[in-house]
């Protein structure tokens, strides 16, 4: 079982997200460590991209801040951040980024570096099932999970995506881009049930979750809840105080999620 899949073994998982280099190198390190201290089960680190088409305004703004602070933002700087994080926590980590970033570094070199630093999975929103073939064998060789997305409009694609998945399956709560919302697609239970018919790979729901109530609801349906924009908002609002706030927020969200019985 992959390190990421193990996260879901004994309880429902809470998975926060923050963007690398927002606001800067040390801030990223401190924020990820705070999320780990707060009890996060896995942290998604977003690698900023100039044109994040799957992301809503909040994460777009974080990417812009991160790239304004360092317009070149070399991938090696981000790997260095992870190395710093690794000195303080062993929490499972995944990267969320767009395929061009991985492509430019080289699929082989990128996934190799991921393994060395304990990055166990990659979420790449612009790499659908049909295009995973160029990266999948290389990622598998280095034990890096390619975490696919399944959406309320995936329909007949669900089974083939789920069968190929390792780590976990990112279930998109509703149509559109990332960002806080008050309503989710109403057939998420059916979606998760369809996935579970063909695979034991765990599921986590993301896009729009920001309150503890929502997280609890989603953790009833799936094996975990992913929260992005709400964490990014805390980083944007609280600056140097963000680690404390993130830790508190994570505690609260984790409590809401973990209370749900495991399937």
């Amino acid at each position: 079982m992959s390190k990421i899949a193990e996260v879901f073994k004994n309880h429902k998982a809470f998975i926060p997200f923050i963007a690398a280099n927002d606001p800067d190198f040390q801030g990223t390190v401190n924020n990820v460590v705070a999320l780990a201290k707060g009890g996060a089960d896995l942290v998604e680190i977003g690698i900023p991209f100039s044109d994040p088409v799957a992301d809503g305004p909040v994460i777009q703004a974080a990417d812009i801040r991160a790239l304004k602070a360092d317009p070149d933002l070399p991938m090696d700087t981000i790997f260095d951040m992870v190395a710093e994080i690794r000195k303080q926590t062993a929490i499972p980590l995944a990267f969320l980024t767009y395929l061009n970033i991985v492509f430019q570094y080289g699929y082989e070199a990128f996934t190799k570096r991921c393994t060395e630093l304990g990055i166990d999975g990659l979420v790449i929103p612009d790499m659908p099932y049909e295009e995973r073939g160029e990266l999948a064998p290389i990622a598998a060789k280095h034990d890096v999970d390619l975490i696919p997305l399944v959406t309320p409009v995936s329909g007949d694609r669900i089974e083939k995506i789920a069968k190929a998945a390792t780590g976990f399956i990112y279930v998109v709560s509703s149509l559109g881009v990332t960002g806080e919302r008050s309503e989710f697609a109403n057939d998420l239970s059916d979606l998760v049930a369809r996935i579970r018919k063909v695979t034991d790979v765990p599921t986590a729901i993301g896009f729009g979750i920001h309150t503890a109530e929502q997280a609890a609801e989603m953790a009833q349906i799936a094996d975990g809840a992913i929260v992005g924009s709400a964490c990014v908002n805390i980083v944007a609002e609280y600056g140097e105080q963000a680690p404390t706030k993130l830790q508190d927020y994570t505690k609260q969200m984790k409590a809401a999620v973990v209370g749900n019985p495991v399937r």
Binding site: L73, L99, I101, Q104
Partner: protein, 404 residues
């Protein structure tokens, strides 16, 4: 009259060598799949083809002229110059060819709402036009910088009943408009057809756009045959994303004697940072749904681009252009703002044609190359659009103060 029964290409994989593909969020994959299947079906459907033909002839004013530019030819003193007059189409640019095809497909797929991105506004105007014609809802995404420099086209779209959204994210130009249109589409796929304007994006767009624009070279080949009994020696067209160029090249790609040249926007110069010369300055990458060539930094961040022409400042090219460049079948050359503006004035004064600043990038290359060619050689240069929209900004470029 020129036969307009479009020969549509047989490529069904969406790959041009290593380029192309469908690098797009999962939310859109089923919709793209439906679109691909619908297109594969309708492109062989006689009724669809008749409708397409009738709209191109009766509504868009096709075939467009292949005009012998006698004064330019004489003045430049080399190759015979023929201009393919896409500027004479309804709505004033080649964009209508593709828009009619895609909107017709949308209608057959039961869609009621069209969305589009636009740079200079030509594609937005063409989309708004066809939406009005078909009675469909229309929303156009346009970078804020472009809504500012092309105010007339914004008003034109609104006049045609479209809603124009100025896009304020990123560098506020064409690429950002595409991001916004894609994002809008992920929110509402059921009734909405994203009508992409260039030969870019995920499959099937590059293929569809190429097919619908290939009417340009299908006509020009036949027209030149009728006039001279020959093939051209060279075909020149401007390249942003590359829709008019791929349409201008399509029917000549398998004619090895015909040189294909794409004129890219070099802005302040190919070697400067203020450029949009993707093939010369860019590298392989993955963006906007396709593997192709892009202007980007080492990490893979897409660079802001610059050109005087709103229709050419896109940081990538369509995947088939990347393939033609890589294999050497077509050549891509950078034309600076200065050269394009000179060409804008040149063709106005010698031929009495006010051509779009985008098209004048191709004209500028013709000015350079024609004198070096023999008098029995032939260049076909595509004038992709008319230049009325550019008059105010060219005046400004020349420091002339005019009341708009």
């Amino acid at each position: 009259m020129t036969e307009l029964n479009l020969k549509l290409s047989k490529n069904t994989t969406g790959r041009y060598g290593e380029y192309g593909g469908q690098y797009i969020p999962e939310t859109l994959m089923n919709e793209l799949d439906r679109m691909t299947k619908a297109y594969e079906h309708y492109k062989n459907d006689p009724e669809f083809k008749t409708e397409l033909h009738d709209l191109l002839v009766d509504y868009a004013n096709r075939p467009s002229l292949l005009y012998y530019a006698e004064r330019m030819t004489k003045d430049l003193g080399g190759a015979q110059i023929y201009l393919k007059r896409e500027d004479l189409n309804h709505t004033g640019a080649h964009k209508i060819n593709n828009v009619i095809g895609q909107a017709l497909l949308a209608k057959h797929m039961g869609k009621t709402r069209l969305i589009a991105e636009t740079g200079a506004g030509q594609h937005g105007v063409a989309t708004a036009t066809i939406a009005a014609y078909f009675g469909m809802e229309c929303e156009v995404f346009m970078g804020k910088k472009d809504t500012d420099r092309q105010r007339l086209n914004v008003y034109r779209m609104e006049l045609l009943g479209a809603k124009v959204h100025p896009v304020t994210s990123g560098s506020m130009v064409l690429k950002d408009a595409i991001n916004a249109a894609l994002q809008d589409w992920t929110k509402r796929v059921d009734d909405t057809f994203y009508l992409m304007g260039s030969a870019t994006g995920p499959h099937p767009y590059p293929l569809m756009v190429r097919d619908f624009q290939s009417v340009i070279s299908q006509e020009s080949k036949q027209q030149l045959q009728e006039k001279t009994g020959k093939l051209p020696d060279m075909v020149v067209a401007c390249v942003g994303g590359g829709s008019n160029a791929i349409g201008s090249f399509a029917n000549y790609i398998n004619e090895p004697s015909v040189q294909l040249v794409g004129a890219e926007a070099a802005g302040k110069g190919v070697e400067t940072e203020l450029t949009a010369a993707t093939v010369e300055r860019g590298s392989d990458g993955i963006f906007h749904g396709m593997k192709s060539m892009f202007l980007q930094n080492k990490t893979g961040q897409i660079k802001p681009v610059y050109s005087i022409s709103a229709g050419l400042d896109y940081p990538g090219v369509g995947p088939e252009h990347a393939y033609l460049a890589k294999t050497g079948r077509a050549k891509y050359v950078g034309i600076t703002d200065d050269e394009a503006v000179d060409a804008f004035e040149y063709i106005a004064k010698t031929e009495g044609i006010v051509a779009a600043i985008e098209s004048c990038h191709a004209v500028a290359y013709v000015q350079k190359i024609a004198p070096k060619m023999r008098k029995d050689q032939i260049i076909v240069c595509t004038l992709s659009g008319r230049g009325d929209k550019d008059v105010a900004s060219i005046a400004k470029y020349r420091g002339v103060d005019i009341d708009e």
